[in-house]
Chain length 308, copies 2
Amino acid sequence: MINRLVEKIKETGAPVVVGLDPMLDYVPKQVRKRAYEEFGETLEGAAEAIWQFNKEIVDKTFDLIPAVKPQAAMYEQFGIPGLEAFKRTVDYCKEKGLVVIGDIKRGDIGSTSAAYAAGHIGKVQVGSKTYVPFGEDFITVNPYLGSDGIHPFLKVCKEEKKGMFVLVKTSNPSSGEFQDRLIDGRPLYELVGEKVAAWGEEAMGNAYSYVGAVVGATYPEMGKALRKIMPKAYILVPGYGAQGGKGKDLVHFFDENGLGAIVNSSRGIIAAYKQEKYAGFGAENFGDASREAVKDMVSDIRGALENR
Amino acid sequence: MINRLVEKIKETGAPVVVGLDPMLDYVPKQVRKRAYEEFGETLEGAAEAIWQFNKEIVDKTFDLIPAVKPQAAMYEQFGIPGLEAFKRTVDYCKEKGLVVIGDIKRGDIGSTSAAYAAGHIGKVQVGSKTYVPFGEDFITVNPYLGSDGIHPFLKVCKEEKKGMFVLVKTSNPSSGEFQDRLIDGRPLYELVGEKVAAWGEEAMGNAYSYVGAVVGATYPEMGKALRKIMPKAYILVPGYGAQGGKGKDLVHFFDENGLGAIVNSSRGIIAAYKQEKYAGFGAENFGDASREAVKDMVSDIRGALENR
């Protein structure tokens, strides 16, 4: 799947991923209204609203981008109907040829990690039958429990040719509280980065590993150091746009081939119609606003890469 | 909810929690067979099997124990039907008067943690209506992202009088890879423990905080140190039984009142009928085997506490 992700990034010329993190208040009123008319002001109504919202954004952007990243929390908050909308979104994006990164940030001890891996990027056996429960292509994983929490994910990645991005340095303001603490003179995130590189050697695609890393756009200097520590790891970079990261901050996350990183934007794309810059589209045409925001993001990042 | 948990522990005299982590191969053949006859060898069939399995165990043990801990991964692996079985299990255990600890190990940046908190221990708003999506009483949370990933959970804990257990030192063999690394001469897990104590001060129950900690039974010396660092935090102790922890290892997790810790056993209880010790019950009476295993666990731990 990492090979396919790299190919799609080359094809589209867009090292970006659209974060499908639909808060209800991002969903334009007319979309919510239609959903509530059909299903009431219920969890089913909310789920329908976010699904219709996602669908429109995907329809308007899928030809420009290699991948999407639905954030599980935004669906899980609406209970079972929300998770049905998650599954529906994953399936639809795959139909549209997109690579789907499930932003689930799971991580547990051995047998439990194995169950998450089976559920999200693998298969489960029921009697004589086999099922693909959620079917994402990549997932995000939390490293706090160490190697034996990671290996079950790695095993499924190898079997299914899927991938994962391990949290190394997250984009939020207090990420440094533990991640930056010095151990033998080096920050914890570097030690995690070294482990990511080691885990990744066990599962190599053509040029990059099945095991990538999450490094926040908000910490460009750390991205530079981590790029060297994990030369074969694709870096998933959250924090662009709404969280403050800009194209020029991102150049060091990429390698000399202009590859090796994929930058996520969520609110900046999916709620673009709410920004002054794209307000001209109007709430009715929120998908077109998202399309324009994708184009602007791609040219910001490509511009920065060309001028480095 | 921490007050209620402490009361229930006193009432039952049992500082234990039964981990409802149903692997399909724990479920006796006759239970699986009935479920597959009704729903086929499908995800629905698997979900029905684990739900019936859980129900029998709960029916046979609820009067002996204060709490259960369903492990989300074991349900999520069966997709949407699996999560329906999770919800059904949560609801049923609450009906039976049990405190429900959702072992979800979530953790993310601010707005995303807020969504997980709403989904699992809080409420969501849809138009003018309010819903409780999953409705656990406590959840487990991963600290790797730092305070701003924890505060949204804390906020909901305070609003809803719910609680959380933050992963401090996990029970698995490679937990030390990052958690034990020394920072200014002290292991990372102690720094996380100090944060747990600080977060906990913001949300105190009568004697203990809404913010507890997860510390593995497999590391008794660390439990001793952490008990002092987090005097008001209830410690959820996984790793008893199948993972190797024994009653005598656990005394230091408790405070001088014999409170302050609750010990989890999953496989050791729910798959007790597969152990030689309880084989006499037979697979037909798996619930009775679990009941006996709960009694043995309680007397092992109480005995150890009395003899310390």
